[in-house]
């Protein structure tokens, strides 16, 4: 099966980035401090979309890639768990003052989103290599 790079870029990366891009657009248009340019929850959404796409991509691989499939499924599920836990902390921090440091939540969200991007790129590399054989 041929792997389409443009399809992956459009469906996964751009769709995952929609919350981040829309918030940036609103922040730019509003030109005030009412809207924050970047939030932890948008980045967590981006990470979740990337991990869900990884699970979907590995679903259709042949038996030869069994080990790869197990590794990617495990990684994506662990990553989704971390994203879920961080989402809970972000929601809790929004509602209760002084319990969770907002900057720490944003930093952790940026780190987790970067890790999801790394996992998705490794998956992308595998699918490109596989389709070129």
């Amino acid at each position: 099966m041929k792997f389409s790079k443009s399809k992956w870029f459009a469906y996964t990366l751009l769709v995952g980035l929609i919350p981040v891009l829309i918030r940036l657009l609103v922040w730019f248009v509003a030109a005030s401090d009412l809207v924050e340019p970047i939030t932890a929850i948008d980045l967590i959404t981006f990470g979740l979309v990337l991990n869900a796409s990884v699970i979907n991509e590995v679903e259709h691989l042949p038996a030869k890639d069994h080990e790869w499939k197990s590794a990617q499924n495990g990684l994506a599920i662990a990553s989704i768990t971390f994203h879920g836990a961080l989402y809970a902390m972000a929601v809790f921090g929004d509602k209760v003052d002084g319990v969770v440091n907002g900057d720490a939540t944003l930093g952790a969200a940026i780190l987790l989103a970067s890790m999801s991007m790394l996992i998705a790129l490794v998956n992308f590399h595998h699918l490109v290599k596989r389709s070129s054989k």
């Binding site: 080990e67 590794a71 990684l75 990553s79 971390f82 440091n101 720490a104 952790a108 987790l112 890790m115």
Partner: protein
């Protein structure tokens, strides 16, 4: 530092370890399953 912030740091650290470690592991599996052409055609002289 509050307990909530400590948990957030812990989640970030664990996520980074799993992400980097898992990516390296996956990269190695890919290269073993689909070796590059150069490696494939190399022969002993």
């Amino acid at each position: 530092m509050t307990i909530g912030t400590a948990i957030v740091y812990l989640i970030g650290a664990l996520g980074a370890i799993v992400g980097i470690g898992g990516s390296i592991w996956s990269w190695r599996i890919t290269n073993r399953l689909y070796p590059s052409e150069k490696k494939k055609t190399r022969t002993k002289k």
